[in-house]
């Protein structure tokens, strides 16, 4: 299912029914069990979920960054401009990685080559994908670095990564990713390792670059605050599946899955009084060596019904462009969980 019907343009990146598994000493782990999501030009899709839910694996497998073996994509397609980039690394005569799709990662301190100048690392992509000369590539690299609001970009480009702070390194990584003006930027937890103040700067930077280039952003995060700030569309992931998908307003104000409700409830707010305490979600995520045949959230869901255990829930359309993987949306389901938004409600 593609994005909301409000947008007529087709998605830039359309992932359908992705399945990824790994061979380990304990058996086969099903890390991603049927994820589908898409993102449009100029828009940001946030994939939210807790550690181990499969969000990083999804995007990394599409980009070919998961070692295969021991990993395997057993099913699914990822269409970029209509071409499946899981099977093909070149679209319309251009490389995908680094060129049409850029990626930035979580820990900027270790993500750059310590023995190479920062400017050269940016220039590399231009040399390889655009065929620039060393000189031209370096000049352009300095330009891109300036775009990321790094002061004294020329001087910085000649320095090595160890001379940069965390925030600056992330900017440098962003520069590397956008140097070839990609259609999609995938940001895998870009702010998790940074201070809160720097976080805000980086996110604003991404938004500004997006407005400038018109690129689509896929933002992986576990922080709902970041989602609220950046996302246009949200996909909530749990135990290798997308359990809820919709616009940011839909997911935040009209949550249609018990897990999303749990996440929201767990977020401490300034209005929570001391005596109330924090409200975590009880239990732990399911073991993906032997994934549950029914709903993955069954063990922890306060509203679980009998059929939720053995039967895997269908994907229900709650509202146009808003779907949830939960039996509570079955027409025969009782009206428990009043805080859960259902079809037709305001």
């Amino acid at each position: 299912m593609t994005g909301s019907p409000v947008l007529d343009a087709p998605a830039v990146l359309d992932v359908a029914d992705l399945h990824v598994e790994f061979d380990t000493y304990g058996g086969v782990v099903q890390a991603v069990r049927g994820a589908s999501f898409s993102v449009h030009a100029g828009k940001t899709l946030a994939i939210v979920g807790e550690s181990g839910c499969g969000k990083s694996v999804s995007v990394q497998s599409i980009m070919g960054l998961i070692p295969m073996p021991p990993g395997r994509i057993t099913r699914g397609t990822a269409l970029l401009d209509g071409v499946d980039i899981i099977r093909q690394k070149i679209v319309n005569g251009q490389d995908v990685r680094g060129n049409r799709v850029g990626m930035i990662f979580q820990d900027p301190m270790s993500a750059l080559n310590p023995t190479m100048r920062v400017g050269d690392q940016i220039a590399e992509t231009l040399q390889v994908h655009r065929g620039y000369s060393k000189r031209k590539a370096f000049d352009r690299a300095v330009e891109v670095l300036t775009l990321t609001n790094i002061p004294e970009a020329e001087k910085r480009a000649r320095q090595y990564p160890f001379a940069f702070s965390g925030g600056m390194l992330q900017r440098a990584m962003i520069a590397i990713a956008i140097a070839c003006e990609p259609a999609v930027l995938i940001a895998d937890e870009p702010t998790t390792a940074l201070d809160v103040t720097i976080q805000a700067q980086i996110l604003d930077l991404l938004k500004a670059l997006q407005a400038r280039n018109g690129m689509a952003i896929v933002l992986i995060t576990h922080d709902l605050g970041v989602v609220a700030r950046m996302a246009d569309e949200v996909a909530v992931m749990y135990a290798g599946e997308i359990v809820e998908k919709g616009s940011v307003d839909d997911v935040f104000y009209r949550a249609a899955h018990p897990y999303t409700l749990g996440l929201k409830a767990a977020m401490p707010s300034s209005t929570t009084s001391k005596s109330e305490g924090l409200r975590p979600i009880e239990g732990t995520p399911p073991d993906l060596f032997a994934p549950p045949t029914g709903c993955g959230y069954f063990a922890r869901c306060p509203h679980a019904m009998r059929l939720c255990g053995p039967s895997h829930p269908f994907r229900f359309d709650v509202d146009p462009g808003h779907e949830a993987l939960c039996w509570l949306h079955h027409p025969d389901a009782p009206a428990t969980a009043p805080e859960l938004h259902r079809r037709g409600q305001a």
Binding site: S110, L112, E124, A177
Partner: protein, 310 residues
Amino acid sequence: MLLYTLKRLLQGIVTVWFIATATFIAMHAVPGDPLANERATTESIRRNLEERYGLDRPVTEQYFVFLGNMLRGDFGISFTQENRRVNDIILENFPVSATLGILAVAFAAFGGVLWGALTAIYRNRLPDLIITFLVILGISVPSFVVAALGQLVLVDINAWLGYSLLPVAGWGSIRHMIVPSMVLGLGTMAYLTRLMRSSMLEITSSDFIRTARAKGLPPTRIFLKHQLRNAILPVVTVLGPAIAAITTGGFVVELVFAIPGLGRSFVQSVQQLDYTVIMGTTVFYGAFLVFMVIVVDLLYGLIDPRVRLE
């Protein structure tokens, strides 16, 4: 950088002093009077030595004489070879050992980096298994056995070919240098291969390689500019001590292949209890090694930019 160099040099000098002192103490702990060895000395040498070293004076005085001489670069005269200055012995034999050592190190370094990178790339496939097997042999078989076997094989090859492909012993031309330096470098090459392999494997799973792949760089480029460049650092670190090991291990190769180097003369001087030569060689070798390690460390600073600003 300059300050760092000066600091290292100063440390080096202190270390050499320590080595000289330790050598002095060790030599004077030897039971018996070195000059009492009738076979070794003639009357004239004996008088010369007594005069020069004050062997009849108290030990502490002798120590300062010794240090004084050392500072002036004078290692004295040989006990057993009449009128031969130790300095001359060292100057004559050292270049040979140094050449052998440098060639062996070069051979070991090249080979180690090459094989190590190959085993990492073809991990768990056939090239890896073969090379790993050879490497394990290389670190287990004692160097002297390798030297002896090497010579044996060479003799056989020459016999089978009917002419001398490479000389079996001696020194003098490039052809003489090939087999001994290969034999000498073999053990270190095996060690460096393993080091390079683990370094490569560690680098390959690191974050910045993931970034490089995400950039869509071609594999060759990733290999050369990103993997190799970083993986080689531990190998360079080890190169200093490796040079030390190779130069001392050179003894055996020099003995087996009859190469007139410092190692062989050292062993001979030990067997003949030629004390001045023993002391002189030890201090000289010690100083040489200390400064080699400093040179390598400075070299490392050139490759790894992180060290430069320390």
